[in-house]
C-alpha cells in the first residue's frame, strides 16, 4: 500500500486516484465544526490562524477524553459535509488534505479540483481501532472548545481511502 507523508507534496498526491487506499504518516490537525467557524472568521478578519495551513491536513475529529495511561481515546472521523461551507476558505489559504467520512458538496469538489487538494475517508465508527495509529497529541488552539479544540496529532500509517482526488474524481460518483 502506498505511503504518504505530511506536509503533503502535490507531486505525490496528484498520482493518487479516488478509491485508492493509502497509509498516512506525519502531522494532522483535528478540527471540527466550531473550530472551522472560528478559523473562517479569522480569515475574514485577516487575523492569524492557529497553525500553518499550507500543505496541511485537517482531520474532522473530536476524540473522547484521553483515558489514563493512553495517548489518545477513541478518535474516528465525524461527518465531513458539516464542514462544507467552510472548506473553500481553508483550501484558498493553502489547506491540502482533509480526512472525514461521507460525501462532500459539489462546491467542495470544485474547490478541491481548483486548489489541487485531496479528500480522504477513513474507517467510520471505528474510533477505538484508529487510536492505534496515533503517536502523540497536543492541543494547539481553542482549548475552551473542549472536544472541538484543534489538536495536533502525530500519526503513523493511518489507514485512508482517497475519496476525492486532485482532479475532482469522487469515490461516491
Amino acid at each position: 500500500m502506498k505511503k504518504i507523508f505530511t506536509p503533503l507534496d502535490l507531486n505525490k498526491i496528484k498520482t493518487l486516484k479516488a478509491g485508492q487506499e493509502i497509509l498516512l504518516s506525519g502531522i494532522i490537525y483535528a478540527a471540527r465544526d466550531q473550530a472551522h467557524k472560528r478559523m473562517v472568521q479569522a480569515i475574514k478578519l485577516r487575523k492569524a490562524l492557529p497553525f500553518e495551513l499550507r500543505d496541511a491536513v485537517i482531520y474532522y475529529c473530536g476524540p473522547t477524553q484521553t483515558p489514563k495511561g493512553k495517548i489518545i481515546g477513541s478518535c474516528g472521523p465525524t461527518t465531513s459535509s458539516r464542514m462544507d461551507v467552510f472548506t473553500n476558505f481553508l483550501l484558498a489559504k493553502g489547506l491540502k488534505g482533509m480526512i472525514g467520512k461521507g460525501c462532500r458538496s459539489g462546491e467542495v469538489k470544485k474547490a478541491i479540483k481548483k486548489y489541487k487538494g485531496i479528500y480522504f475517508i477513513t474507517y467510520a465508527g471505528c474510533g477505538a481501532l484508529l487510536s492505534k495509529y496515533v503517536r502523540s497529541v497536543k492541543t494547539v488552539a481553542y482549548g475552551d472548545l473542549g472536544p472541538e479544540a484543534i489538536l495536533k496529532l502525530e500519526v503513523e500509517n493511518f489507514p485512508l481511502i482517497v475519496a476525492i482526488d486532485v482532479n475532482g474524481g469522487c469515490i461516491y460518483g
Partner: protein
C-alpha cells in the same frame, strides 16, 4: 411498598455508561458477523472486518466503541409500587455525568443549543414510563449525532398507501447515504402523534435484532409488521450503499418498526437511523 435509594440508581446508571460505550450489544455484534459472512464485495468485507476488530479492541482496552459517545438517552420504566427516596432525575444525571467523566468519554453536550458554549457530560434525555410491579428498569442508549441528524418525520394523509410509506423510509436511508456510518439499523415509528412516532422510532432501536430469514431475503411481504420490516430490509439491502457507503450488499442490519393507534385524520411516520455502532445497555433494580 418496596423502596430504593436514589444513590443506587446513580451507581447503576454509571455502570450502564461503561457497558453501553465499551461493549457492543451482542445482537448487533452477531448481526455484524452475519453481515461479514454474507457480504461478497471485497472492500465492504474489509470495512466490516474493521468494524468487528474495532468492537473487540474497544472491549479489550476499555475504549469507547466510537468517539461520539452520543447524546445519552435514558428510558426509565418505574414500577407503580416502587418508592424512590431522593431525586430520581438528579440521580440519573449524576450517574451519567460520573460515568462519562470517569470512563473518559466525550463531553458532547452544550448547555444552550443556540449559544453553544462550553460542553459538558450531561444532562441526558429521559423518557419516563410507569409500569406494573415494584422494580425500576433503566435503559441507556448513547445516540451518536452523525445518525441522529438523519432522523425524519412525516405526517401522512390517513389514506396514504403502503408504497408511499415505504418510499419515505427508503428515501430516509438514501439521504443518510454514506454519512451516518452504514450498515444501519433503521428504527421506525408508525402511528400515535408527531412526538409519539418519533419516540417509537427511537425505542425501536432497542429491540433486539433478529435475523429473520437472513439479511438478504425479502419474505412474506404481507400487511403485518414483521412482513413489512423484511420487505423494507430487502429493498434497503438492494440500494448498494453498503458499509461506509462504498457499495456492497449490507446497507442495513435490521428495520425495526413500532406502531401505535392513531387519529382518523392522520398517519405519522418517523424514522430514526442508527449507525452500525448501535449501543445500549439496561438494568432492572
Amino acid at each position: 411498598m418496596r423502596e430504593i435509594k436514589a444513590s443506587q440508581i446513580t451507581k447503576a446508571v454509571t455502570e450502564l455508561v461503561r457497558r453501553a460505550n465499551f461493549i457492543l450489544r451482542s445482537d448487533v455484534l452477531s448481526a455484524l458477523r452475519s453481515a461479514y459472512r454474507f457480504e461478497k464485495n471485497k472492500r465492504a468485507k474489509t470495512i466490516l472486518k474493521a468494524i468487528l476488530d474495532n468492537a473487540a479492541y474497544a472491549r479489550e482496552k476499555n475504549l469507547a466503541i466510537c468517539q461520539d459517545t452520543g447524546m445519552p438517552v435514558v428510558f426509565v420504566q418505574i414500577g407503580q409500587y416502587l418508592k424512590i427516596s431522593g431525586n430520581l432525575k438528579a440521580a440519573i444525571n449524576s450517574g451519567i455525568a460520573n460515568g462519562y467523566k470517569n470512563y473518559s468519554l466525550r463531553n458532547s453536550i452544550v448547555s444552550d443549543p443556540l449559544l453553544r458554549g462550553k460542553s459538558g457530560f450531561s444532562p441526558c434525555i429521559m423518557h419516563m414510563d410507569i409500569i406494573p410491579g415494584d422494580k425500576i428498569k433503566l435503559t441507556l442508549l448513547p445516540k451518536g449525532f452523525g445518525c441522529e441528524n438523519k432522523s425524519q418525520l412525516k405526517m401522512f394523509k390517513p389514506t396514504a398507501g403502503r408504497e408511499e410509506i415505504k418510499k419515505f423510509i427508503i428515501d430516509a436511508v438514501k439521504s443518510a447515504g454514506p454519512d451516518a456510518c452504514p450498515p444501519y439499523v433503521v428504527g421506525v415509528g408508525i402511528g400515535g402523534s408527531a412526538d409519539y412516532a418519533s419516540i417509537m422510532a427511537k425505542k425501536a432501536l432497542l429491540r433486539k435484532i433478529k435475523l429473520q430469514g437472513g439479511l438478504l431475503r425479502g419474505l412474506s411481504p404481507k400487511g403485518t409488521v414483521p412482513g413489512f420490516e423484511r420487505e423494507l430490509l430487502f429493498e434497503i439491502n438492494n440500494l448498494n450503499i453498503g458499509p461506509m457507503g462504498l457499495g456492497g450488499k449490507i446497507t442495513a442490519l435490521a428495520v425495526n418498526i413500532q406502531t401505535y393507534p392513531t387519529h382518523i385524520s392522520g398517519l405519522p411516520v418517523a424514522v430514526n437511523i442508527s449507525c452500525h455502532a448501535l449501543r445500549s445497555a439496561e438494568v432492572v433494580l
